[in-house]
């Protein structure tokens, strides 16, 4: 029984990693049609380095991911503290909206933002993508931070209040340091959500500001190019690196 379980779990892991492993392998394969192994090459990486369109799209994606996750982290962290600590009119409404936004299919948000931006005649591009990605990420930051807020000792806050701390000082000096790991986790989650998003971006993108997932989407539809393997490998290594680095930094802080 024990060995069956180990084999089953192992098989699932193999299946989860198989596609990515194959992709990385093919990025070094000399054969253009990537069926059989024709020897090691860095040709696709060279070709990629001269593909300005792809590189530009990748930089745009990183840009959007960085700014949207930073802003979503600010709005989400303050929002989580507000929802957790204060009582106000509309609190139930905001809480329900947060949970609904998390489970709602992305396409629903995509077309609703398309309608909003068209109604106010906002040109599609950087700003519409930024707003859409922030809206996508804020609820995830809120639940990440809120779970941490629910776990900490309330008496510390009471003590600080008794000692005369203002609300902002209280937040900045006490609450924020205590919830810092979850704030960073929320930021990282937002970053990957933004970098990965296809569906919402599909509706609010414009010709002037192409981002990577949509660029890959249009490329894959017309034909498979081995440079994409190389690019995906670089992105995979990069994400693993960022995540490991953040884990390391978080451990150091403890």
């Amino acid at each position: 029984m024990r060995s069956i379980k180990t084999v089953y779990a192992f098989m699932i892991y193999v299946l989860l990693y198989l596609p990515i492993g194959v992709l990385i392998l093919y990025s070094f394969n000399a054969s253009k049609f990537s069926t059989e192994w024709k020897g090691f090459t860095l040709m696709w990486y060279e070709k990629l380095s001269s593909n300005d369109g792809l590189i530009e799209a990748a930089l745009h994606s990183l840009n959007i991911a960085l700014f949207s996750s930073l802003l979503a982290t600010v709005i989400g962290t303050l929002g989580a503290v507000a929802l957790y600590r204060y009582r106000f009119l509309g609190k139930r409404f905001l809480e329900s909206m947060v949970y609904i936004l998390i489970v709602s299919p992305e396409i629903v948000m995509g077309i609703s933002l398309l309608m909003l931006f068209s109604a106010v005649q906002m040109p599609m591009g950087f700003w519409t993508l930024l707003i859409a990605h922030i809206t996508l990420c804020v609820p995830f930051v809120i639940v990440t931070v809120a779970s941490r807020l629910a776990n900490f000792d309330q008496s510390v806050i009471e003590a600080a209040k008794d000692l005369g701390a203002e609300e902002f000082t209280l937040f900045y000096k006490i609450v924020l340091p205590m919830i810092a790991p979850s704030v960073i986790a929320g930021f990282l989650l937002s970053f990957t959500l933004s970098l990965d998003d296809v569906i919402i971006s599909f509706f609010v993108t414009g010709p002037g500001y192409e981002i990577l997932p949509l660029k890959i989407y249009s490329m894959v539809r017309v034909g498979v190019k081995p440079e994409i393997n190389a690019l995906c490998t670089i992105m995979f290594v990069l994400t693993i690196f960022v995540v490991l680095l953040s884990q390391f930094l978080l451990k150091e802080k403890k």
Binding site: Y13, Y99, M109, V198
Partner: protein, 279 residues
């Protein structure tokens, strides 16, 4: 209690963002779904319910039924694959659990589009699966895997599996192993332990996982597009086409509202169960 300036700022910021960019746009979709399509403009303000009645036209109804079947089967497959896996993780040695869980999540830090693209490399006629099966002599001619219903299922299950694993794991880990032992001591077999203890106690995780797989599966148009060769339309591709190809926004909006209603019903069901479980 009077709120401080900081508190008012935090509340206002969140309120402003959610209302302006999530609530208001959704209301616009609702309103658009109740008006007609114009000859030159996207919407003319003539109230109608025809957008909703048209959804029940046999041609469109077929898309919705197909889409629900696709999402339903995907959810079921994810549940059947993920449940034993999550149960194994939840009962693995404590020191290993965090690592095992991170290993599940790592592949999903890469773009889902990139992973779908990687699946194409595996599934295509001259891809790895066919090459492996041919060289093992298991098949004589390459299988046609790409642009089939099976390819779409493989893609959907692969992309959505962690959304099933994580809530199941969270629910299963909370079950006290002593309950299972006690049942076992009292003579309960594997099936009766499963159906009378493990499943009822992890039901909220099962429902959460099913929601997190079923709802996105209805909208993920790029997976059937890339792996199924756009032969099967799902609600997501239908909505996209109405908005971007046919420019019939009110009709697309009505389909989107249908999706929203389905989601709200599932959320209500989940909330109801949670409340009952809590009480």
């Amino acid at each position: 209690m009077r709120l401080s300036r900081f508190a008012r700022f935090s509340i206002a910021l969140l309120f402003f963002w959610i209302v302006l960019f999530a609530f208001l746009p959704q209301i616009m979709v609702l309103i658009a779904s109740l008006f007609s399509k114009g000859a030159t403009s996207f919407i003319v303000f003539e109230p109608t319910v025809s957008n909703y009645t048209r959804l029940f036209d046999p041609i469109y109804l077929q898309i919705f039924v197909d889409s629900l079947v696709l999402a339903g089967v995907t959810t079921l497959l994810c549940l059947l694959i993920a449940f034993p896996f999550a149960a194994i993780l939840a009962r693995s040695p404590k020191a290993w659990r965090a690592l095992l869980l991170v290993l599940v999540i790592i592949p999903f830090w890469t773009s889902s589009l990139v992973r779908t693209y990687a699946l194409i490399a595996l599934l295509k006629t001259k891809g790895l699966i066919n090459a492996a099966l041919l060289s093992l002599g298991l098949i004589e001619a390459p299988l046609e895997l790409m642009y089939t219903q099976s390819a779409v299922f493989i893609g959907m299950v692969y992309t959505l599996l962690p959304f099933m694993i994580l809530p199941l794991y969270a629910a299963l880990e909370k079950i006290d192993p002593r309950l299972i032992e006690a049942a076992s001591d009292l003579g309960a077999g594997f099936w009766s332990r499963l159906t009378r203890i493990t499943i009822p106690l992890s039901l909220s995780g099962i429902i959460a996982g099913c929601m997190l797989v079923f709802l996105p599966a209805l909208g993920m148009f790029y997976i059937p597009d890339l792996l199924g060769g756009a032969k099967n339309l799902i609600i997501g591709s239908f909505i996209r086409n109405q908005f971007l190809t046919f420019r019939d926004w009110p009709f697309g909006a009505a389909a989107s509202m249908l999706l929203t209603f389905m989601m709200l019903m599932l959320v209500a069901l989940y909330a109801y169960r949670e409340r009952k479980a809590g009480a």
